[in-house]
Homo-oligomer: 284 residues x 4
């Protein structure tokens, strides 16, 4: 049987190799989660079970890939940052995009019963996600990306908290609540919450206001001597912008992997807009 007669079709497949020396962010978004959250009766404005499920799925994905150096999520979305010199799947966009969203979907579906034991999944409404890869050439861009997402989390959460308080405590209809909030500033929403309902927005849970940050603490359980040595080694390679993996010896690679395995994974709900966050973390 002539195999070759049809095989020419393979040449129509095109790989997009993502530009080298750029950070890759893969952002995963819940598909139609506005409707999905209603169907499974998520609590409003925030459902802790749903957020914890997102976090657990993300944590599993984070642990799976050493090249993911940070993740941030809120609501039904999560962003995963890959180090700028990663050669994971040869930086092929389709591979990275599909494998990340496939893992995320598998984990989310798998963990569902743990968080929603009384709401079994309906096969006609399974949770699914879309995703995309984004390239950022500089650490500055990456920081601004995460700041953008955290500002967005804050803005949405303040809006949703006020909106649902107006409905649940203020007995407004959704339409009335919406109208009341048109054109309001952050300060106005804070004022509504405080003066009408005695709610101090600052006291809301940090996970709602700040979202969730996943990072690795590489210094965990490590002697000062070890830390010094590593800093020295790293400074040699730093900022060269080259795909230096090629030149790493096997021993260096093993040491690098060991370092990552030993690192403690941190889950935090803290401010990343101020510079302090980035100074403290050893991400860039």
């Amino acid at each position: 049987m002539a195999k070759s007669r049809f095989e020419y079709v393979k040449e129509f497949e095109k790989e997009n190799y993502l530009l080298q020396n750029c950070y890759i962010i893969i952002r995963i978004d819940g598909k139609n989660f506005h409707k999905f959250s209603k169907e499974y009766q998520f609590e409003k404005p925030n459902d802790s079970r749903a957020l914890n499920l997102m976090n657990k799925a993300s944590l599993s994905l984070f642990s799976k890939f050493n090249d993911v150096i940070m993740a941030y999520g809120d609501s039904d979305e999560y962003s995963f940052l890959l180090r700028k010199n990663t050669v994971l799947y040869e930086r092929r966009e389709s591979k990275l995009n599909s494998i990340f969203v496939s893992f995320f979907t598998a984990y989310y579906n798998h963990y569902w019963n743990e968080f929603f034991p009384d709401n079994p999944l309906d096969v006609n409404r399974l949770p699914t996600f879309d995703s995309r890869c984004i390239l950022y050439p500089s650490a500055e861009n990456v920081k601004d990306y995460f700041k953008w997402r955290q500002v967005d989390c804050h803005i949405n959460n303040l809006y949703n908290t006020t909106f649902w308080t107006l409905i649940e405590k203020g007995k407004l209809s959704p339409k009335e609540a919406e109208n009341k909030l048109i054109g309001t500033l952050s300060s106005d929403k804070n004022e509504i919450l405080f003066s009408q309902f005695g709610i101090n927005y600052n006291n809301e849970k940090e996970i709602y206001k700040k979202g969730t940050i996943i990072t690795r603490d590489y210094n965990y359980n490590k002697s000062n001597k070890e830390i010094e040595n590593e800093n020295e080694n790293e400074n040699k390679n730093k900022n060269t912008g080259k795909i230096f993996e090629v030149n790493l010896t096997e021993r260096q690679k093993q040491r690098e992997n060991k370092k990552i395995k030993r690192a403690k994974i941190l889950i935090e709900h803290i401010d990343l807009i101020k510079d302090d966050f980035w100074k403290e973390k050893s991400i860039f």
Copy 2:
């Protein structure tokens, strides 16, 4: 809080709108299924439960999207053909790619227990998939694509059937079996099966030899008069290569959707390399 200061990062997101008037094929592949199938003790060379699970997940995905007009799968892969004028997700590659693989992953994980009731999924080894979008400008290319996959199915299945028969019935080690098959033609493998083990390859199950084809039979349950009318209407639009949706009236769209909903979904294990298949199906 200055939202705009960070929002510039959004401009780094790039959409790839897939070329219009081309067929889109989305192919989904099991990630590391060679190893995965060992861990969950799939039967060799073919595990009917695993194939039926692939087929059920694909059928669910097929039913979900009216714009998928044909699907073909064997082993741990499945290809979905979208009609050439689809505007699903505006033909954005990342959206199509991620949403298809996410749905597939969700269905596959969800149906697992139905097919493997005694092998519950281990969270550290969940089934995941990668995927890619491929563009084909002509019906001829699309036919050749599916022929390529079916030839591949046949070649692999003949090899695997012979390989595993040599091991299980011939008591060879995997290495010995591999060596014995080096350089053999199809006819040699047929001969080994027949003369040494009395197996006529032609009598193997069609699903193993041909894979699985999913299509819609639009003429199901339809009067001859209706069929005639539709043919007439279609001929008007045919082959114009234009994104004609824009000009479809609401009534036409409803009629089109109704036609798809009413169609019977066919699951077959038949030859698609000969022209007969394509003549009979109303895919192009």
Copy 3:
């Protein structure tokens, strides 16, 4: 000297191989020709010397590349159609785009003095061009592309003819002429020309109204027997949509090239919107 230390930068170069089995159109546009035409005092609304120069440059480019099967131009733009199975420069977008525009620029500058002997080129205002590659999957799309350009030529020429007649014969200022034409239909412009100035637009030169079409007449100087034989051979390969060059014998390639070399190049100013044009030409 360590050559390899820097050579990694080569990997940042990305080739875009244009999708196979699609027609490629390369459209070249004069850069800033609105201003350029004023500086070199082109006649308005049409300058025959400038059009003939565009045509001569295009003809030279057309003759240079056997894979260009048709060209169409008007005003300061020209579109070159490459056959759908061309492997010119391996279908690399940057190569095709840059080489075509470079040849065009060289020819245009070279021929300038022949058409504008009294207007020598000023080095600060040399004629330059931009260009782009566009993919079309079907012959239908390609026909519609050229129809689009010819309709555009007609619309612009009718407008410009009326506009400049109002200025030159009607003694209106440019602003007055512009205002008079706002909201007018083709019929209105025809009427203005005829009733006010006694100009029958239909009698304008065909090159102005229709632009210029360059094709090859392969049947030129050929016996009927030869034509019959070729038709037979072509029907065998036709519409397969495969990159069939690979399988052409050396003898077939030579015969093909000979056929192209022997063909007569036609330059015409005729209607290509009606089907007659496409039926007569053996382009698809």
Copy 4:
């Protein structure tokens, strides 16, 4: 006349907007210059007239675009570096690529007679060029790019100098010279030149050994006070990696343009592999 019926074809045009916050290098290469240089009898191994013509064309292009901050060329190629935040032609790849190569072609053809007064251009052998855009995310990558090209210049020039000396002074045939050089190191070639022909390679012209570098000296003709002020202003914007043009006031833009216009353009043939070059220039 129904314009809209065909206009859908416009949607097949795809723009590639080059990733923001990356340096863009446009490299222009002579098309078939190996053959071209023979036809116009260029001197070997280096023809000063040809190099000066390349340099003059590049200088004209450099002067045309304020966003080009450096250029480097040798032999028949030239690379132009655009600043990383340029929004020239909205960073559209096809526009940048075609316009640069078109300008270069126009200038090269225009200046030809000045450098080769006795070799008029033959219309069948006009000089043409191809070009490509390359993205580099970091200054380090850009430096390595230019180092790569200068190392290449050196290697080629040493080879060519030895090769042609063996032919012209050593009376070897081209084939014999080629064979003699197979497997030789730089030191071997230096030795051949010196011991056999008394040529000290170090004394060869710098333009041959180092190629040509074009930059701007912004501090030219400027008071110390002015320099200080500018440094201060620049430090504010530096390294933010943002498309800051958007926020520049009109006054700032004017000042920026004035600064560029006033700058002195430098043409040098010096080493750029050592760090000194980059420290001295204010490119990054």
